[in-house]
């Protein structure tokens, strides 16, 4: 069965990959990653961020190599290696992964709102509204999803500046001495950091939707680089702002830093920040639902519209039962581990397999 190429009017310009990757990477994790990495590597953790960012470039390179070789997305890659049936069967795992991912993001965001803004907010009804919005976006097609990613990154970009207020009260000597942690501690921190970095793997799923995929590679790398820099700078500011013991008690360190922001007409900036975060979270959820429904279409040959409703229904039916901090934490850990396995272990394996099969096929031809 030959796959139909995606028509050009549905494809996106290569540079939009930058926004897609970045907006998928930056999500709920930014609000509180500082504490987690500082637990292992202390205030040397910014080195771990840079290291994790460097590793990701390698993975991105692999992803593009896979896409180039098989000329399609992850389903095509699996078919290339395992054949139609087994390939599709293996891919169906990712449907579950992306449903869980969107569930985690939405639930964690609702938790942030409940803790910081509205303790009484109904998890179900807010998620319900959020999901309606997502369905509306996804029904507009991939271009609309990318549009959300674009605005979800560009419009809230001003929030970065607001962290500048913290600099006034920072003490950069906190960071010294540099490198007083072992390599092992730094690597553990890198592992924890990778969970915040996850999101770039989506390239493997929308690869056929890029107009000239080769040209987009530099944009993907640039996106990863920018995210790495943002995370590093934010981490350094956080480390300088909080004392190490203080930070260990801040679950959402970024939000706490907003409390210091003071303007003539606005205090308690975290309210505005959290409200704005809605726009940042939106592409995260939309892209993962889009991918899940796209996979359903590719694997089971069901219309994508039906797939979207299936995914949304799945998320909504489960979300109500995630009602305690422990459960949400478990879910986060679980999804993080899945994401880590997928991006840092499975993708290199897939890459090796694809290269191997490519050589085999070449050999056969000869």
């Amino acid at each position: 069965m030959k796959e139909q190429p995606v028509p050009e009017r549905l494809q996106i310009s290569p540079f939009l990959v930058f926004y897609l990757v970045m907006s998928m990477q930056i999500g709920i994790g930014v609000l509180g990653y500082q504490r987690i990495i500082a637990m292992d590597a202390g205030y040397d953790a910014w080195i771990s961020i840079l290291f994790a960012g460097g590793c990701i470039h390698v993975i991105v390179w692999m992803i593009y190599k896979i896409g180039e070789t098989v000329g399609g997305d992850i389903v095509t890659a699996h078919k290339y290696i395992l054949g139609n049936f087994f390939g599709k069967a293996l891919c169906s795992i990712f449907i579950g992964y992306f449903i869980l991912y969107s569930l985690t993001v939405v639930r964690t965001f609702v938790e942030v709102i409940q803790v910081w803004m509205f303790p009484e907010l109904s998890t179900f009804w807010f998620s319900f509204g959020f999901m309606i919005l997502c369905v509306y976006i996804i029904f507009g097609g991939f271009r609309t999803v990318v549009g959300t990613a674009f605005f979800g990154l560009v419009l809230p970009a001003y929030l970065l500046l607001t962290f500048g207020w913290a600099i006034k009260f920072s003490n950069f000597y906190n960071l010294l001495p540099i490198w007083d942690h072992s390599i092992k501690e730094l690597l553990t921190a890198s592992y924890h950091m990778s969970l915040t970095f996850i999101g770039f793997e989506i390239i493997l799923f929308f690869y056929p939707f890029i107009k000239e995929p080769k040209k987009s590679q530099k944009w993907a790398h640039l996106a990863v680089l920018t995210t790495t820099l943002i995370y590093t700078i934010l981490a350094i500011i956080t480390f300088a702002y909080f004392a190490e013991d203080q930070l260990s008690k801040q679950i959402w360190a970024s939000l706490t830093m907003w409390k210091i922001v003071e303007m003539p007409f606005v205090e308690r900036f975290e309210y505005i920040g959290i409200a704005n975060w809605n726009l940042i979270i939106l592409p995260n959820v939309c892209i993962s639902i889009w991918i899940a429904s796209r996979l359903i279409k590719r694997v089971f040959n069901i219309r994508q519209k039906v797939g979207v409703f299936f995914v949304v229904g799945g998320v909504l039916s489960v979300i109500h039962f995630l009602d305690s901090r422990e459960r949400i934490n478990t879910l986060n850990d679980y999804v993080g581990k899945m994401g880590f396995t997928f991006t840092f272990i499975y993708i290199p394996l897939l890459f090796a397999a694809v290269m191997f099969v490519k050589k085999l096929k070449k050999g056969k031809k000869k």
Binding site: I12, S13, F15, L16, I113, M117, F118, L121, F126, G129, F130, L133, Y136, I137, G140, R143, T144, G147, T148, F150, F151, E262, M263, P264, F265, V266, E267, R268, Y271, I272, I274, A275, N276, N278, L279, L282
Partner: protein, 534 residues
């Protein structure tokens, strides 16, 4: 000759005579004297044929203004008839231009009218199916007894044209002061005068099964993208509606998403704007009977650009555009933000500012949302009433509403004066949009935002903003993205979007139009730089 009697009678008496000629009684008696029996028989038969109404005549004859009169030529004694709708034609043309020559000169066959009638639009045809349409378009039909198969059509439309006036909706202090009127001919003249090149193509369509409105599509050959032209052509020919009385009908009938509050075709009453956008490579649609010309494909930012922007220096116009953008954002968001902060997040406001707010709200019994809704509705009522009333009364209502109701409601303790200021400013800001239709949309948008602000506070406002954003991303105008150049991001098109760069930088036509010839002028020549003192 009895026939001679007719032309000498002034035309205002014609209805009565025309009755005679229809029944023919009077004439038959008159003609009986001194005629040969054979000729008389022929005449009788002829008259009978005249009485036997043809298919097209059956319904037309029921109308009072349907006229059918017969005359005899002086020299050749040929009997000819003029048929027309008296309300549609200019009687002076018949009296001065058609009848004198047809009666006095040698007139034998239909072909002769090309020599005899000094009217520009004279047609001869033999297709009876055209008769009805031509008559109703203001033509006079000429029939002649010897040639029953041929008809002559002489244009004699009565043109009631409003004189050119100043643009009222899109007034600008500097720049041309001409505005479109209701007559399509006049409007096309205004446009063609500004673009006197052969590349300007005017295609005409007749739409509406009852109104038979002429609709013209204008574009520049070799510039405008053919897909756009084809799409407009196809959409126009697919229009199924009975009476199209204004271009707004066309807007709603051919727009991509008819369920959107956003207008997807720009309408303008300025001929200079139409000429400007035609040169850019867009398509214009002129509808007969409408002083508003439609422009397509369009983008959201175009609705916030006034044509006056091009008359001003680029720095000034860029500044004004940014002001307008701010005004729109302010107008939509300020009342919802008031409701959200005062209902949920009063911690957000610094102490000093909060005390001002609290003092003004101290005696208000209503929650912020009801307070805001009350004032917003008042403003909407005022605006709606002001729009429906004659100008002078409208002004009075504005004063009464604005000052009396506003002050009274504050004094009565129904609303706080801070909110009164906010709502008034928001209403003022919504008037800054140069396109009236967009102003209406902005009026409406405030209410869903208010609803979500009450529901989820600031979060709800962002949520509603996401909805709006998605709607805008999904929206297309003629298949082209409506949010361009914001999304998909096109840096090249930013030169004339939120800001307007100087004309030297505008050497390329907008990318999203995909014009056949993207260059407006050679950038090289414009860029030739001169050294100091050269």
């Amino acid at each position: 000759m009895p026939g001679l009697l007719l032309p000498s009678i002034p035309l205002f008496l014609l209805p009565s005579i025309h009755k005679f000629s229809k029944t023919g009684n009077n004439k038959r008696n008159a003609e009986n004297d001194g005629d040969l029996p054979m000729r008389q028989w022929l005449k009788n038969r002829r008259i009978k044929e005249d009485i036997q109404h043809k298919e097209w005549e059956k319904s037309l004859i029921k109308s009072k203004d349907f006229k059918k009169i017969f005359y005899y030529n002086k020299k050749t004694n040929v009997r000819f008839g003029l048929t027309f709708m008296a309300t549609l034609i200019d009687e002076n043309i018949i009296q001065d231009g058609i009848l004198p020559n047809l009666l006095e000169e040698e007139f034998r066959e239909i072909e002769d009218i090309k020599q005899l009638v000094p009217v520009a639009d004279v047609q001869i045809c033999d297709d009876p199916s055209l008769i009805e349409q031509k008559l109703l378009n203001g033509y006079v039909m000429l029939t002649i007894e010897t040639e029953l198969k041929h008809f002559g059509f002489i244009a004699a439309q009565k043109e009631i044209v409003r004189g050119l006036s100043q643009p009222e909706v899109e007034f600008s202090v500097i720049g041309p002061k001409e505005a479109f009127v209701e007559s399509m001919g006049q409007n096309l003249n205004l446009i063609r005068k500004r673009l006197p090149v052969k590349e300007l193509i005017i295609e005409e369509f007749t739409l509406g099964s009852l109104s038979k409105t002429s609709v013209a599509m204008l574009y520049m050959e070799d510039i405008t993208n053919e897909d756009n032209v084809n799409t407009v052509r196809q959409r126009l020919t697919n229009v199924k509606f009975d009476a199209i009385t204004d271009s707004s009908y066309i807007v709603q009938l051919i727009s991509d998403n008819s369920n959107s509050p956003f207008p997807q075709l720009l309408d303008t009453e300025r001929p200079d704007r139409v000429a400007g956008i035609l040169a850019e490579g867009k398509v214009a649609i002129v509808v007969d009977g409408s002083p508003h010309v439609l422009i397509t494909p369009t983008t959201l930012v175009e609705f916030f650009s006034s044509f006056e922007d091009y008359f001003l220096n680029w720095i000034l116009s860029s500044f004004f555009r940014l002001i307008r953008l701010f005004a729109v954002a302010f107008s939509i968001l300020i009342t919802p933000i008031y409701v959200a902060t005062l209902s949920y997040h009063y911690e957000l406001i610094p102490k000093d500012l909060l005390s001002t707010l609290i003092t003004s709200r101290r005696e208000i019994p209503l929650p912020p949302i009801l307070e805001a809704l009350f004032l917003e509705l008042t403003i909407e009522l005022l605006r709606e009433a002001g729009a429906r009333l004659p100008t002078k009364v409208g002004q009075t209502i504005g004063i009464v509403g604005g000052i009396v109701i506003g002050t009274a409601s504050v004094e009565a303790g129904l609303t706080s004066n801070v909110l009164l200021i906010i709502v008034a400013l928001a209403a003022l800001a919504s008037f800054t949009t140069p396109v009236y239709r967009m102003g209406n949309t902005i009026r409406l948008l405030r209410f869903p935002f208010l609803f979500f602000a009450e529901l989820w506070g600031l979060l709800g406002i962002v949520f509603c903003f996401c909805l709006l954003l998605t709607h805008l991303i999904r929206l297309t105008s003629l298949g082209r993205p409506f949010l361009e150049p914001l999304y998909p991001p096109r840096v090249m098109d930013m030169k004339d979007a939120l800001i307007r760069l100087p004309f030297e930088k505008q050497s390329k036509r907008p990318i999203f139009l995909r014009t056949k010839n993207p260059t407006r002028f050679s950038k090289k020549k414009a860029k030739e730089k001169k050294d100091i003192d050269e």
